[in-house]
Amino acid sequence: MTDLSQHLLGASFQSPVLLASGTCGYGEEYANLIPLDEIGGLVTKAVSLEPRPGNPPHRVAETPGGMINAIGLQNVGLDRFRSEKLPWLRNNLRAARVLINVVGHSAEDYGAVVSGLDSDDGFLGYEINVSCPNVKDGTLFGVDQQALSALVAGLRALTERPLVVKLTPNVPDIGVYARICEEAGADGLSTINTFPGMLIDVEGRRPVLGNVSGGVSGPAILPMGVYLTWRAAAAVSIPVMGIGGIRSGSDALQYILAGASLVQVGTALFVDPSAPVQVQAGIAEYMERHGIARVADLVGALTIPERE
């Protein structure tokens, strides 16, 4: 039997496959369809200090090879997350690791969510979302180097739990932002969030999405995600989670070979809830066929040809 486990962020993951934030709710909704406790883990829908109402519909639509969404981080807010959502995760997941995706309008907001959660049980750490393109201030921290550094350093002081920062693809050099997070004390990175995009209803001459623009995800962004993961992983020594368009073991292996220690499956869940199990099986099949004992042996194991 191939060993799919990975050890990082001070914990062991039984497989490198997690579910991406915003695509698996708070776990419970998929409990009948996905054997959640048999995969690596999941990242919750973003949690903010106050509940957020989200954007008007339409909130999702298909794009060529992918989808666009502008949910607007609709969520129940910190208090109800703690009282209604976290208990389910605590009580139902034994082996799968839980990261809580955190958003805020200000550094104080982020801090309040982390502080508010930190003494609870039922999760491993945080994924700090500085890269949501669907709310007005969503990528503020993600593109402003000073603000990002201060945000991460501030959160670092508030928690001993693993702190993973989810980066935006929307910058000239993601390596710079990766290093800023590492230096400010982040334990890991997630690459990438969605790309800003827009669809127009040509007949109605209006945007398809209620929020006008949204974030593009799915297979369409796979090559961008692999590239940005490769660049981010090369820039830092903390682990990176690869995200974007993964729907097979081979897609996941592209990220892993590019330097990702874990991967997250998002949009593919909507197409087929068995996607994470298929991705896991695909990785295992590959490892068996190539006689590879541990996932860690594949992380970053890409041969870059010499150039004259």
């Binding site: 998929y30 519909p57 298909e62």
Partner: protein, 256 residues
């Protein structure tokens, strides 16, 4: 609510039921076993390729047979429904369902279904089920033009009900809308499914006559199971609520 199932279903039969509308029967016993009228499924082609429908599309369950067969009414709207409508017997579709809340049918009232366009689909199932239970059920079905009318013979075959047909151009059935000239003296339970303006007109009608109304709404969906928050509609309380799990069937008074 029952737990939704993910299942590949083999297409058994397809037939063109109007110019741009197809009736597709799929073998899917695990979902058929649980289905209730008003529920829907997400119908897709799986992860194999990225052609539309890359995301699965929501379809009302139009029929459920004892042999595990499900029937869907698929009208070509864009690229996704064009591909789905072109499936052939033997093809496999990935189906997630049954999803959402079904109609709730009070035992003490006759049922009047107000169907606009593809809004007919759930009422095929309602009609068939109600007849099985020997209930009084009427299907009032409207289309803009005659060429869009779903084969009335097929409606009769599926439901055993003779549809009360209306077209706006008068080319088939009575000229007019589904809310015109209705006999509501027996205080029926109204059910409505169709485009937004029609649902609003139905709500007015129900209000005027003091009749209970359940509506089935359509909104773009991502997951179909309540995780993505993609499918919201505005509640009477002014909140965005998920139509995939709170709906698609709502009491008309729950919505703004």
């Amino acid at each position: 609510m029952s737990a939704p199932v993910r299942s590949w279903g083999r297409v058994l039969e397809t037939r063109q039921a109007a110019g741009d509308t197809f009736w597709i029967e799929v073998d899917c016993p695990r979902i058929a076993a649980q289905a209730r009228p008003g529920q829907f499924v997400m119908l897709g082609t799986g992860l194999g390729d990225v052609a539309a429908p890359f995301l699965p599309r929501p379809f009302s369950i139009g029929a459920r047979e004892a042999d595990g067969r499900l029937g869907f009414l698929v009208r070509v709207f864009g690229a996704g429904t064009r591909r789905l409508s072109a499936v052939n017997p033997g093809d496999e579709l990935l189906i997630l369902g049954p999803l959402g809340r079904s109609f709730s049918l009070p035992a003490d009232r006759p049922i009047v279904c107000l169907a606009g366009g593809v809004g007919l689909a759930p009422f095929l199932f309602v009609g068939a089920d109600a007849r099985l239970e020997k209930r009084d059920v009427r299907i009032v079905y409207g289309e803009r033009t005659g060429d869009r009318v779903f084969d009335p013979e097929l409606i009769r075959r599926i439901t055993g009900v003779e549809p009360d047909l209306r077209t706006e151009d008068g080319s088939l059935g009575r000229r007019g809308l589904v809310i015109d000239d209705l006999d509501l003296d027996d205080q029926p339970q109204l059910l409505a499914c169709g485009p937004d303006p029609m649902l609003r007109a139905c709500a007015d009608l129900a209000l005027r006559h003091g009749l209970p109304l359940q509506v089935s709404v359509e909104e773009h969906m991502g997951c179909g199971v309540g995780t993505c928050q993609g499918c919201v509609v505005l509640s009477a309380a002014g909140e965005w609520i998920k139509s995939c799990t709170e709906g698609p069937v709502f009491d008309a008074r729950e919505l703004a």
